[in-house]
Amino acid sequence: MSAQSSTSAQPVLKTEDLVLYFRTTKGVVQAVDHVDFELDEGRAVVVIGESGCGKTSFAKAVLRLLPRNVDTYTGRVYLDGEDIMELDDEEFRLRIRWAKMSLVPQAAMNALNPVLRVSDQVAEPLLIHDRQVTKEEAFERAREMFGYVGVPESFLHRYPFELSGGMRQRVAIAMALITRPRLIILDEPTSALDVLTQANIMNVLKKIKWETGTSYMLITHDVATSSELADDVAVMYAGQMVENSDAESFFSEPLHPYAKMLMAAVPKLRGDEELEFIPGQPPSLLNPPSGCRFADRCPFRFEKCDEDPPLFLVGDRKVKCWLFEKEAQGVYGTQPAVATGD
């Protein structure tokens, strides 16, 4: 599909040195710390990591959905090559958010307005972002979207409380789809749902991807389910992107020690592998260590780990770990160049 042809073209989304720090009473929380990342057209990337690793903040930084206590928000975000950090808030709202990038928020099924019919809620983004569209056309498109996500048309005029959790989740996805965005960001879209409903929603997302070529960013802590949609995998740890690989290579052999250990903690349905957990806890983002942030929990630690590693390029894969310095072809991104020791 389009995935192969687009490798040379410009990515849908690219971030350079993206930083998002929050102010709190205890100090500055470094939620997103110098993230360099890119996503090619028509592909789905899953951002995995434990709670508090900054994956949701990363999505918010990309969408510029910021709370009031932002301390630092810098870097570049390119959408189809356009630097959207340059835009002012009003223009961003009109042209980018929901027009080109939409979001299915965490617990979206509970985020619907209880006093509006679901059809009104699904049609609303289109009416706001496309001034030419009439109300009738918008409802027609909403009907079409319901077909995509597999909600019966008779549900159009119902209220959210009349729908089951899975159906409400589909409505939230329809709402994100209706403006035909270039990129949909899904924040834990299935984590509150039953197994069968989860599989159903994943089927819906796959079909939409195959039919429309929309790009996805899926944020989740559920590694097993994430593999249902993944073309690429990005692993976040303590506010940083520590590995970014294609799914095929990642699921057969993760590179970063944290990714390796995370995969060893994922239960498999059958088979005899022993589960392992990662001793210790992630560092506080208030005052993270200056070197590699995983070093304290890492079994492969050596002297070099006291320095902050860059994102090494290993083939097409990127990994933020000194272990790969020798075999790396170079360094990705805008981080300060590494002084080659010898």
Binding site: H221, S227, D231
Partner: protein
């Protein structure tokens, strides 16, 4: 952890030799529906005719989707709701027969691990007070004695050193530590039975493994009987010896863990297993097969087998009219599905073709 996978198959035949600790007989938990506040308008049949035996030191898992009645079953076992009909026998005694005093004693024998640790811990109480309260309730008057017991349990759930945690409040602890406090509270009165309701579903992958290992260790050390309630079949293998699958208020399949995972017999169990992903890049290239529709309403469940409207193997005229009894499809493996009746052996082939796993 190796012991987990090794004990699972071998202990199944042993289980029948052990003493029965808890026996559930034809249990019905029905909630009344009222019309205009009075006048009976029917029942929500959350648990309908469920029977099973739990042996001492045995860990079982009850697996089902939300709304299948697993929480109602759990509440009845904890003595929190009175069953409409049927009995729950603990060491041969009906738990409701002894009145309030009897129930009180029974509850001191049962530990309960809640799903959401943050919601289960009172935010205004320190860890010490949280753990002290159950001891005060059973009449442990000596302060030093209580504190010694609290320290002992905290060491056991690896909240060590206890001094670091005793005076903390729940919000000061991480999710994993909160869950350890919940487990400590469940264990503090030395129960014989533990009911764990989705103990790891709110936790991150790595912490989840820590807690599962901890629960397994406690279970083995104390020869504790455990009822593990979950919707996630991928974690049961690490914890339970037998699995019961629940659908729309009924137990539709009962089997030892590995037996159930490798040789599921009921079409619903098969659908559940097929919906679970193992991390693998090939998942993204194929659609998963999911039965159509949603679980039925428990007010007016479909006649016959409750899964038949969603089942692609259903036999018209049988599955939609007659309630299937339990068949022993394989040794020690029971399933409530008409396909295992000898009369319909020829209809079973379609299902058997789908039961091949690698």
């Amino acid at each position: 952890m190796t012991t987990m996978t090794q004990t699972a198959p071998s202990s199944a035949p042993m289980a029948s030799e052990k003493n029965v600790l808890l026996s559930v007989r034809n249990l019905k938990v029905w909630y009344e529906l009222r019309k205009w506040g009075f006048g009976l308008a029917g029942y929500v049949k959350a648990v309908d005719n469920v029977s099973f035996d739990l042996h001492e030191g045995e860990a079982i898992a009850i697996v089902g989707e939300s709304g299948c009645g697993k929480s109602s079953l759990m509440k009845a076992i904890l003595g929190l709701v009175r069953p409409h009909d049927g009995q729950i026998l603990y060491q041969g005694q009906d738990i409701f027969a002894g009145g309030r005093a009897g129930l009180r004693w029974y509850r001191s024998q049962v530990g309960y691990v809640q799903q959401d640790p943050f919601g289960a811990l009172p935010p205004f109480m320190s860890v010490r007070r949280i753990l002290e309260e159950p001891l005060i309730l059973i009449g442990m008057k000596n302060r030093e004695e209580r504190l010694a017991r609290i320290r002992e349990v905290m060491e056991e759930v690896k909240l060590s050193p206890p001094e670091d945690f005793l005076n903390k409040f729940p919000h000061m602890l991480s999710g994993g530590q909160q869950q350890r406090v919940v487990i400590a509270r469940a264990m503090i009165r030395n129960p014989r039975l533990m009911v764990a309701d989705e103990p790891v579903s709110m936790l991150d992958a790595s912490v989840r493994v820590e807690i599962l290992k901890l629960l397994r260790q406690i279970q083995e050390e104390h020869n504790l009987a455990v009822i593990y309630i979950t919707h996630d079949l991928s974690t049961v293998r690490y914890f339970s010896e037998r699995i019961f699958v629940m659908y729309a208020g009924k137990l539709i399949e009962k089997a030892p863990t590995d037996e159930l995972l490798w040789h599921p017999q009921h079409p619903y169990t098969l659908a559940l297993l097929n919906a679970i992903s193992d991390p693998d890049a090939s998942n993204a290239r194929k659609l998963r097969e999911v039965p159509p529709g949603e679980p039925p309403s428990l007010v007016s469940p479909p006649p016959g087998c409750r899964f038949h409207p969603r089942c692609k193997y259903r036999i018209e005229g049988v599955c939609d009219t007659e309630v299937p009894p339990e068949f022993e499809a394989r040794p020690d493996h029971f399933t409530a599905c008409w396909l295992y009746d000898e009369r319909f052996a020829d209809r079973r082939q379609a299902l058997e073709a789908d039961l091949q796993f690698d």
